[in-house]
Symmetry: C2
Subunit: 300 residues, 2 copies
């Protein structure tokens, strides 16, 4: 099967490279360093996106739903050149509502669609051990299995179009809430006179621990906020969560509170920080810092 | 050093037994099975609580602050018979404000006090591998070190009286929020058509995971709500959290939302369930169940 690839950044680059070890891959690429990396992995590259139109499967790995829309339906977009029957696989993380509308627009042109957002950081993209959560027709996802297997070790079929995005969203919302919980509770501990490092040890060896606490507490103790995905780019998940809540009349009180904290962090200029940076909202309100005594990083 | 022990239940029983392997221990006990268990471990037992008054250190391990108050200051309580200089070590989980007032009342009688709540379930109490978080005068805690070491593998000195309770509370509040997040987000996933078992797998292998998700998701999938501490007994932590928030003017939006969910669970009659039972609030609202297809347990 011949594959095309658009979006060869942090995640998409190594995904395309791994795919090329089993399939013919042509990728749209305009960055010279990435071009060399991809060609060394057997990927054919082109600066003209429409050159990938003769692929049977097109993989997208892009930063947002609006960029996916642009790549497909914007000027010189793919939709105008793809042959009917071509399968578009969107591995980007995109709002559920956008995914549904993209899928409908593609279907009206005779194009097939699978949403397949991935989880795992760049290291797992390089190792080909990502998790892929797939939404779409089951037979379609089954026929893509060998391609997914080149990039991922955990391929989960979740249901109709949008189900992959929804599943990833569920995980992200829990992560966001757990991070927002740390943002308000840890500064409270400091305000009450407790030692941050000791509190961190108790939490991370106790029932309060989470992936968020394990990842962020050691970083925050050192004033480090650049190890995870920037909040301003991850905000789309909270938009999706709020849309789903209001449109389906589903109350989400804890998520709503966590979203308020996230928004306060963006408003206070912390959007470039990872989600550990939400703590700055409550640190500033309480005039404390959750920092180790010998912390070297940010203490502004 | 001679130790007395009051509160030889699920946790206190094995703690007293382990203490007796290194120190002389007299425990107040009126239950025959527990008496036999304790005496087999070398603990001297008595049905008259005031018989333990000649101990140098009194350990308490009781269900609530009001029972601790009763044991110390109620009719035939310990305070009327303890000699000045006796050290009272409260290993119970007690509201911060109650701990401070107990400590002050004991000090006025010339009695010393350390708060030392423990974490870890019964298995760790039996193995002597609990975590103890201590608050009180540092020299006092240091002199108690050999006694704590008989019961715990992780002994953390946190600061002045009340710091042990505060530290445990911080951990518990994070656990409660993480559990409340699951309670609203997992039923939402089901309402949107996702398969509960697959969602559970994605969360527990993803960034959304927490101790709460690892503990509760497998139980909830099977309709099992009796593996953890009952919500009605753990509610004291949320009272403490709310008191600290209002009295110190510290905003806790995510905790407040989680507390509302917890309260809804209690109001809806789920107080005997563990915190996984909070999910029933949103399951009932959305008319769904987050259950595995072959779940055998509760599906009411």
């Amino acid at each position: 099967m011949k594959a095309g690839f658009v979006g060869v950044g942090q995640m998409g680059g190594p995904m395309a490279a791994n795919l090329a070890s089993n399939f013919g891959v042509t990728a749209h690429c305009r960055d010279e360093a990435t071009r060399q990396y991809l060609e060394a992995s057997g990927v054919i590259t082109t600066a003209n996106m429409q050159d990938i139109a003769d692929s049977e499967v097109i993989f997208l790995c892009l930063p947002s739903g609006s960029i996916v829309d642009q790549v497909l339906f914007g000027p010189n977009g793919l939709a105008e050149v793809l042959r009917p029957g071509t399968i578009v696989v969107d591995t980007s993380t995109v709002e559920y509502s956008t995914t549904i509308s993209l899928s409908e627009k593609l279907a009206s042109l005779g194009l097939k669609f699978v949403d397949a957002p991935v989880s795992g950081m760049r290291a797992r993209a390089e190792n080909g051990t990502l998790t892929v959560m797939c939404g779409g027709e089951q037979e379609l996802v089954e026929c893509l299995q060998p391609l997914f297997s080149s990039m991922a070790s955990n391929i989960i079929y979740m249901g109709p179009v949008g189900s992959g995005q929804l599943t990833k969203l569920i995980n992200q919302l829990l992560f966001d809430i757990n991070a927002a919980a740390l943002a308000e509770i840890l500064p409270l501990a400091v305000k009450l006179g407790l030692d941050p490092t000791k509190v961190g040890d108790v939490v991370n060896s106790g029932t309060g621990r989470s992936y968020a606490s394990e990842f962020f507490i050691p970083n925050v103790l050192n004033g480090v906020f650049d190890k995870g995905y920037p909040m301003e780019h991850a905000y789309k998940d909270l938009i999706s969560g709020a849309e789903i809540s209001v449109q389906n009349q589903i109350p989400t009180p804890v998520l709503a509170a966590a979203t308020a904290t996230y928004q306060a962090a963006l408003l206070n200029g912390h959007g470039a920080k990872d989600k550990g940076g939400m703590i700055r909202v409550f640190e500033d309100l309480l005039d404390v810092r959750f920092r180790a005594r010998n912390a070297e990083g940010d203490s502004k």
